[in-house]
């Protein structure tokens, strides 16, 4: 699009590219969704009639997976700065696979929850369980957008468009991926401390 080219030719006011700022603003906006849910969770829990249950162990494994994926994402970013295009591709593919693995893992956790009779809805459901599904589900939705973003960056890197002179897209993807990982760790710790 020609307009954006015209615009980026101008001096940016913060030294940040507009897309970087837009990403940060959208992340703040997403954080508000989770801030709303976690505070609603606490308000609701304090009203009583709250079913307590142990979180599935697999959540710890998933958390480890997403933590590692943040590492590989950082690796991809550093490799791009060093212009090691091959490493960028490998690291991005690894991150993508780990992201998928995390999603599959979360899906399986839902299975575990159902097996232990913690339901999302229906007569036997208690909000304590429903909240876990909502938090995991809304986070998973964000993670899917992260995977799409990774896919776009990966395609760019296959076309040699990600290197030390073109760091914007991989930089944004890295920030977003760390955000998603950090968000999950927050949610996991929150659930561990407050279930």
């Amino acid at each position: 699009m020609h307009t954006s080219e015209v615009l980026t030719a101008k001096e940016p006011g913060t030294g940040q590219h507009p897309y970087r700022l837009q990403l940060i603003l959208l992340m703040i906006s997403s954080s508000m969704i989770f801030a709303a849910y976690t505070s609603a969770y606490i308000v609701r829990r304090d009203e009583g009639n709250w079913l307590e249950f142990a979180l599935p162990v697999a959540l710890a494994i998933n958390s480890a997976i997403i933590l590692v994926s943040s590492g590989t994402m950082q690796w991809a970013y550093m490799a791009a700065r060093r212009n090691s295009i091959k490493q960028v591709r490998i690291a991005l593919i690894l991150t993508f696979i780990l992201g998928l693995a995390f999603l599959v893992g979360q899906w399986n956790v839902w299975g575990d929850l159902v097996a232990s009779r913690i339901f999302f809805g229906g007569t036997d459901a208690n909000p304590s369980g429903s909240f876990v599904y909502v938090l995991m589900g809304v986070h998973a939705f964000h993670l899917v957008t992260g995977l799409i973003f990774l896919w776009v960056v990966l395609r760019k890197s296959l076309r040699y468009e990600v290197h030390s002179k073109q760091m914007l897209s991989i930089g944004n993807a890295t920030i977003y991926w760390h955000f998603l990982g950090g968000l999950w760790l927050y949610l996991y710790l929150f659930l561990l401390l407050n279930h």
Binding site: M1, H2, T3, S4, V6, L7, A9, K10, E11, P12, G13, T14, Q16, H17, P18, Y19, L21, Q22, L25, L26, I28, S29, S30, M32, I33, A35, A36, Y37, A40, V43, R44, E47, N49, W50, L51, F120, G121, G122, T123, A125, N126, P127, S128, S130, F131, V134, V138
Partner: protein
């Protein structure tokens, strides 16, 4: 008069509305010579000015509809015994044996609120003017992302289509009030409007929120990143400050409404119990246990309260700008104006529970929210006094826009005073859910924001369409609207203090209230007349687009950058280089100056006679 304004626009002089793309011919940054098709120029346009007009015209459509709905329920309230058979061709089965269906009455009230708050005063107001003015006033060629901006409009459009279609479904549109409190909104058994109508409402609002976020992210990014040379944050017109903070509020508040809406969707369609517990309806106990309807109110009002500032702050910014221009005086207390906007923005997030004083909350907590709520009177008063001080001994030009701006201040004061009453928990509990509340928010936020919207349209119409709106019709429109608003809402306070409850379809069965039959009739007559007065505006608007007097580049002799563009700016806004900014936007009637206004792009070196001592240094 305008001789000392160095603008490339003057060379371009008389570009008419219909001349396309002259700007490409001497475009410094863009050597693409492409012809845009009708579709890419007017439909899927990425030009902020076209998107602004799309928002405006969609907003006008919604305003007519919202006004029509209010006239319908005012008919019911004013003449409860009358037969409404004659409305059958429009309302169809909602008129039963000459009577308005009571459930449809609730739907009318709900849709009136939803449409006015979200589709007109949020999307129509800040969607129009943030889009139109941000790039023009900060000196940018377009928004940071034209594509996201286009998406923002089209998400709004799809959301509009869904909301509009919900008016025509068999069970009727959502009817649980614009605040959609569960359990009423969650249970289709409770009221027909909580069936498919509510589902469409929620889907539509989810898309609306996406639209607002895409727009808001763009506004903030554009203001932070794309200001022209010299345009520091402390030289921004107050319009931009207000749009900026409005977008920040939207970005923080709308996601929370989204969260609440999503949980409500789960409760309605997926059998969860976030907001539902121990309900016995139509002879049946529901299985839902453990939910909390109050939780919904907390989530809703965490958006809902900032939302009223999302509605009013753009109007405040535009009024400040229009007042300074037409009083030919600098805005009084520029920094205090920014400070009070910041104060209002901050406070708007910590007062939501004043909507919930009767939910049985801890009285101590209630006092905290009451205290914080009353503090909002401080920045609001700062703004009001600054507007009055701007008018004081000004060389006032009573343009239509100026009249509406003064009207805005009047309504904001009248409505704001009752806000102090309602902010007090003890008083609020007394008048909760009465017409006193309705009168309060219709004055302070509904009508005021509408006046800001009108002021903005009258003021920036020449830059939008290259023609002037008719002043005489504007005066008639202003006076009918101004008087109409007061005639509607002043008696409403009185009725409200007497305890008259809002949202009641029929009140004739109660002796306490049936004595207000005359007053209700009076309010209805005033409301319907005020509604019809709006068609003067609509005629003026559409007639002037095609037949209005041709505008000059700077018809109001204003200082801000949008008036340095050609009469109708093309895509890219300035045909040549973007002007740099040297001074604040309020150099009106500066002592010693040759003209009574000095635009922002005039360097101090050209205005030696009027420079202050510290400005002389800058000129060197």
């Amino acid at each position: 008069m305008a001789a000392n304004i160095p603008t490339n626009a003057q060379a371009q002089g008389g570009i008419g509305v219909s001349v396309p793309h002259t700007e490409h011919e001497d475009h410094l940054h863009n050597d693409e010579h492409h012809e845009q098709s009708f579709i890419s120029k007017y439909v899927f346009s990425t030009d902020h000015k076209v998107i602004a007009k799309q928002f405006l015209i969609t907003g006008i459509f919604w305003a007519i509809l919202g006004g029509t709905l209010s006239s319908l329920f005012r008919l019911q309230l004013g003449w409860p015994e009358a037969t409404l058979e004659w409305l059958t061709p429009v309302l169809g089965k909602w008129v039963e044996a000459g009577k308005l269906n009571p459930e449809f009455y609730l739907a009318l009230v709900t849709m009136h609120g939803t449409i006015m708050v979200f589709f007109v005063l949020t999307a129509g107001l800040s969607g129009t003017f943030s889009n139109f003015l941000i790039p023009l006033q900060i000196g940018a060629r377009d928004m940071a992302s034209g594509f996201m901006n286009m998406l923002s409009y089209w998400f709004f459009f799809i959301s509009s289509v869904i909301m509009f279609s919900s008016l025509f479904i068999e069970t009727g549109p959502a009817a649980a009030g614009w605040t959609i409190y569960p359990p009423l909104s969650a249970l289709p058994q409770a009221i027909p409007g909580s069936g498919a109508g509510m589902t469409l409402w929620l889907v539509s609002m989810a898309l609306f929120i996406v639209s607002q976020l895409l727009g808001g992210v763009n506004y903030i990014t554009t203001i932070i990143n794309l200001r022209t040379r010299g345009m520091s944050m402390s030289k921004l017109p107050l319009t931009i400050w207000s749009f900026f903070l409005t977008a920040v509020l939207g970005l923080l508040a709308f996601p929370v409404l989204f969260s609440a809406a999503l949980l409500l969707i789960f409760d309605r369609s997926f059998g969860t119990s976030f907001f539902l517990s121990d309900i016995y309806i139509a002879g049946q106990a529901l299985p839902n246990t453990g939910g909390s309807p109050i939780l919904f109110q907390h989530l809703f009002w965490f958006l809902g309260h900032p939302e009223v500032y999302i509605v009013i702050m753009p109007a405040m910014g535009m009024v400040s700008e229009i007042m300074a221009t037409n009083a030919r005086k600098p805005i009084f207390g520029y920094r205090a104006m920014i400070g009070s906007l910041l104060g209002i923005s901050l406070l708007s997030f910590v007062v939501w529970a004043h909507h919930m004083f009767v939910t049985g909350m801890n009285p101590f907590l209630g006092s905290v929210f009451m205290f914080l709520t009353l503090i909002i009177a401080v920045p609001s008063a700062v703004k009001t006094f600054n507007w009055l001080a701007t008018l004081w001994r000004g060389n006032i030009r009573f343009t239509t826009a100026m009249l509406f701006s003064i009207g805005f201040v009047s309504l904001f004061v009248s409505g704001g005073l009752t806000g102090i009453v309602l902010g007090n928990a003890a008083l609020d509990i007394q008048v909760h859910n009465t017409y006193f509340v309705v009168a309060h928010f219709h004055l302070v936020m509904g009508s005021s924001a509408f006046f800001g919207l009108f002021a903005g349209v009258y003021h920036w119409f020449p830059k939008m369409f290259g023609r002037m709106m008719d002043e005489k019709l504007g005066y008639i429109h202003f006076w009918l609207t101004f008087l109409g608003v007061y005639l509607v809402f002043l008696p409403m306070h009185y009725v409200g203090i007497a305890g008259f409850p809002r949202r009641y379809y029929s009140w004739t069965g109660f002796d306490t209230f049936s004595q207000f039959a005359d007053l209700n009739k009076f309010i209805s007559v005033a409301a319907i007349l005020a509604f019809f007065a709006q068609f003067i505006f609509i005629f003026n608007f559409f007639y002037s687009i095609f037949r209005g007097r041709r505008a000059t580049e700077n018809p109001w002799q204003s200082n801000t950058l949008e008036w340095t563009t050609p009469v109708v700016p093309g895509h890219g806004n300035w045909p040549g280089a973007i002007p740099a900014v040297y001074r604040w936007p309020y150099d009106y009637s500066k002592p010693g100056a040759e003209t009574d206004f000095i635009p922002q792009n005039v360097p101090f070196s050209q205005t030696q006679s009027s420079n202050m001592p510290y400005e002389r240094e800058m000129a060197d």
